[in-house]
Homo-oligomer: 328 residues x 2
């Protein structure tokens, strides 16, 4: 959906997000902004993109896409609703396929289309723009970068690809750290810096701060653009009561030496006033006692329900995030 | 299936073939040779291979493979039995897909596996070898070449890809000719010349002589190897009663100025005694009157039922072809 300011009077919002939790939050935020006549641009993590059997797969982009399009499998929290795996079964018969990595038939349509466009010479930005067009998303989805950035997980006995660690090992193998080789020379995708510069609000989704939001902020130019933006910057804690809502943020935070708490993640992002990113930070009611610690960091704490149990609660949370950006 | 001569005492047979008719004939020949303790190597046309949405598709190789494996859709005569098109439906939703070119889900498994192996660096020969391994084929399938050879169809108003002409236009647009650009620098795939040199019998399947057998014989080295082989060379006419059994051989023959008859095709291949390829030529009972014309070319005519209406009749035809190679 194109932003036509002549018909809009709500805020222009940029969301930095990963996959599952990010797409759930994005749907609520999109709903609020559509109702308010605002606009939403999602800058999506692509550091877990990978080549699978010569097909380009973008797990976070697709989760965001399917979520905003309303075709996500709500029960699993990822992939397409009504999915089947006939092709995957064939791939296994051919001795291909990773039994720990699902490739649904509907999903494969996306991967084949994407790969075909890439092979025809489109950049990742143009490819994601084409993905944007199929459904009425009510938001503009952008990849963080057009460059291929991988995430590797450093284990005691070697280094494996993030997707293998995350999906195959369910993050059960303790990581010593994460690496995104070459990220220092990656460039923000077309439109990313412009969207940040024009935004009224920048929101950090309750996504994994290390492996989802981390790589986005690791692309040279993106974090400085957020720091320099006129927008208020609001984050939503992915940690509730000291635990990640979903996913394996606790393991990831431990590996980078950050306390698994709302305050810990707030400290990782840092206070904008002190050279970090955050103006305000939404923390759960369960973590209300941490509000003063967050405030001591120089970040405005907002205590509010963070559980995105249904669309209504998610919209309320999104509205809370926007409200936290109103100048005080 | 590897040829282990210590346990074999039947003939070593090489079959040159295209897709539909070729694979039907190959099944009968395979059955006869398995029973006789012989071996079958199929040299398959790859000039109708193409890239579809960044996937490598080999229509004739796959028809041969599925036919020999017993998983071909018998009713359609091509593709896999029990096929579905969920992924293709998605591709069309993405604005991809040619509505005239079916990509079944099971078939896509083959295409994805093949493309993945190619992208990993395997040559076409190694890829086809991997395709050979899944099922007990009772035959060894070889591509004619590892080089990419396309077939283009010259029309009055331009040139289009063979597959578009064949599948989309059903050969209804009158061709002025066919071209395989670059075929003069293509090389026979590994194993092709060796199989021909070691063969006791070389059979030309009742495939389209212009666009299926033609490109195989157009690969430099293959026709001379057949001419020089110790094997008896037997062909099966694809024309019965002046008409192609299936496919559009009549249109193709007209374009290259060859009479659409058993004799016409025999003349196209030529008598081995006169620098051509054929020692013997199987023609249909409907064309018995042509036997003398074939004999005048210097080719031994064998009049026999050519209709491959069921497996039993096809086996009989294959046995007739082998019998025609017995020295007289």
């Amino acid at each position: 959906m194109q932003d036509d300011r002549s018909s809009l009077d709500g805020p222009r919002v940029v969301l930095l997000a990963g996959g599952a939790g990010g797409s759930t939050f994005a749907v609520g935020l999109r709903d609020v902004l559509v109702a308010a006549g605002g606009s939403l641009t999602v800058i999506c993590n692509t550091a877990d993109d990978l080549w699978v059997h010569a097909l380009r797969v973008q797990p976070d982009v697709d989760s965001m896409l399917y979520g905003l399009a309303g075709v996500k499998d709500a029960e699993r929290g990822w992939g397409r609703a009504g999915e089947s795996e006939r092709v995957s079964h064939e791939l296994r018969e051919w001795g291909l396929g990773w039994d720990w990595f699902a490739l649904g038939d509907l999903d494969l349509g996306t991967h084949i289309a994407r790969t075909s466009w890439l092979r025809d010479g489109d950049g990742v930005g143009a490819v994601v723009e084409r993905l944007n067009r199929r459904w009425e998303l009510g938001a503009t989805l952008l990849p963080m970068t057009e460059d291929e950035v991988d995430t590797f997980v450093e284990l005691d006995d070697g280094t494996i690809h993030f997707q293998e660690w995350w999906t195959r090992h369910r993050a059960k193998r303790e990581p010593r750290g994460f690496a995104n080789p070459g990220i220092e020379s990656a460039r923000p995708a077309p439109g990313v810096l412009e969207a940040i510069a024009e935004a009224d609000v920048v929101v950090l989704a309750p996504s994994n701060p290390v492996v989802s939001i981390g790589p986005i902020l690791g692309i040279p130019g993106i974090a400085p653009a957020i720091r320099a933006a006129k927008a208020h910057v609001v984050g939503v804690s992915p940690i509730i009561g000291g635990s990640p809502v979903r996913g394996m943020a606790d393991v990831c935070l431990r590996a980078v030496g950050v306390e698994c708490s709302a305050t810990g993640v707030a400290g990782l992002y840092g206070a904008r006033a002190a050279g970090g990113l955050l103006d305000a930070w939404l923390i759960a009611e369960e973590d209300a006692a941490e509000a003063s610690r967050v405030a001591e960091l120089g970040i405005h704490p907002v205590v509010t329900p963070l559980w995105m149990k249904d669309v209504a609660l998610t919209r309320t949370l999104a509205a809370d995030a926007l409200a936290a950006a109103v100048p005080r």
